[in-house]
């Protein structure tokens, strides 16, 4: 309900204000993501290092498997 109300308020906003809101949200999101990535890499060192082929997860293979399971 609150989300719907927020969207209806946004629709009735002047264009200039709507633009500012969009760029505000977009820039904030990107800044937060970059910050989180920074923390992941440099502060928490939360990343695996794969020394052998067997350890590496096959993301592409997983996608194809998922797609074939969906019957697409």
């Amino acid at each position: 309900m609150y989300i719907l109300k927020a969207f209806s308020n946004y629709a009735s906003m002047p264009q200039q204000k709507g633009n500012k809101l969009f760029w505000g949200v977009a820039i904030t999101c990107y800044a937060l993501v970059v910050l989180a990535t920074y923390f992941r890499m440099y502060v928490y060192h939360a990343y695996p290092i794969y020394y052998t082929e067997d350890e590496i997860p096959d993301a592409a293979g997983e996608i194809w498997t998922a797609i074939s399971e969906l019957g697409l």
Binding site: F22, Y30, Y42, I49, A59, A60, E62
Partner: protein, 544 residues
Amino acid sequence: MMCEWDVAQFLIFSTNGEPLIYYSHLTSIVIFLALLGFTLLKLKQWPRGAFRLMAIAYIVWLFCDLVLWANDNIEHVLFFWTLINLVEPLIFVAAFAYCIQFIDNRTLSSKSRWAIFALLFPTLVMAPMGLSVVGFDYTTCDRNVVEGIAAYYNYFLEALFVFLLLLKTGSILIYKRYAGRRVRLTLVVVGTSLLLFSFLIANFLGTFTGDYVTSQYGHIAVPIFAAFLAYITIKYESFEPRILLVDTLVVALFILLLSLLFVEENNYQIYANALAFAIMIPLGYTLVTSIRKEVKTRKEIQQLATNLESANGKLKELDQLKSEFLSVATHQLRAPLTAIRGYAANISEGSYGAVPEYLNDPLHVIQESTRLMVNSIEDYLNISRIEQGRMKYEKSDFDISDISKRVIEELLPVATKKGLALTLTANEPITVNADIGKIKQVLTNLVDNAIKYTEKGSIAVTVEKKEKVARVTITDSGVGIAADEIDKLFSKFTRARAANEVNTTGTGLGLYVAKQLVEGNGGKVWVESDGLGKGSRFVVELPV
């Protein structure tokens, strides 16, 4: 496994990467920086915002990629690789937005923007979760990372926006509303599509084959893209490349001379450079301002010429309308006048019974007035025909002496009534090739004028052959013409001052029409006079 990697200086300089990387990336960065500079210029149609976003995203991408190639630090590699995966779809989105803005002259609607953001949102969510860059691949010393599902989702997004751009290209070629700007729009969209397509393919190949060196050739489309944009800008933006070139030259000279001041050790060279630098500043300023002024003036002149051309076109249109109106109006006036004139002549001749004595004078006035009016209308009709290019000349061979004789015979009663002697001297038949009706009209007009503007004395008409022309000279002892009026006499609506004093009913069109008719028959007409009160000579020459 132990890998020996070079330690990178300033993040991007090391021997770890192929030299090709520096050529491809640094060149592309410079080109995009130049394109960013382009957007600072006052361009009329450039969608700056989206274009800047695309250029900045591309520059960030290239810089991050250089870090990946050069750096030995695992954390840097992982971090910058994640940044690349975040920035890469932005390049495609911004390029798409800038093309749409260029094509449709509008920014993306608010809904479209939020929809695009929603498409990008999964990438944002997956990046810090480790689904974009999963981990470091230490199975080789290539310093690669293991990419997650977000990377593949990026490829889907990129392919989607290339596809949408291609659809837009199709619409440009199909829809009529783009007809006037089709070439320009196609160039923009093709240039951008080429850039995105080669970028997408290069990255895709790099990811799937692991051959990231070959994939760098994808950036070869960057200079091509820049060339497309530069061509379009110069051709369609009224952009003056001379200003940019001169500005660049002056700034380069300024930097060079300034830097030499700090490099030279010899005092004399320092003094010489300082002097050159001091001279260069006012000269450079003068050069830059004068070029700008010249370009501005030229543009203003071009604009004025365009305005003048447009005004001229409108005037021609108005003139044409005026001629058409004149033609229609005079046709409408002529028909009733002919009837008045005919019936007045019939009454005068007694066709409807004897005319009382007291009606003779009024009838004569009616006849004379209608004759004058018909003549005036005939002049207007002739002008209308001449100006609309509808005047037709039916040329045939005839004896000009004979025609002159007939004119004299017709006008002799008028001259005699006024107490003037009207004589003709024509010793031999002279055959000319012209429109007999129009030449008779001209001669009648000139002799009639001579009678009108001669109060006493005589009018002599001479017909003679002069080499390859037949010359008719009408000499009168009338009011004469002032020297300063002779040149203007054959112009439209022009009458001599002396003529106005003697006869106030003239329209100033007779001589103009006479000139046009004679010239239309390949001849010429002019007037000579010794001055006011000394008579005049009108000469008509026609080819034999």
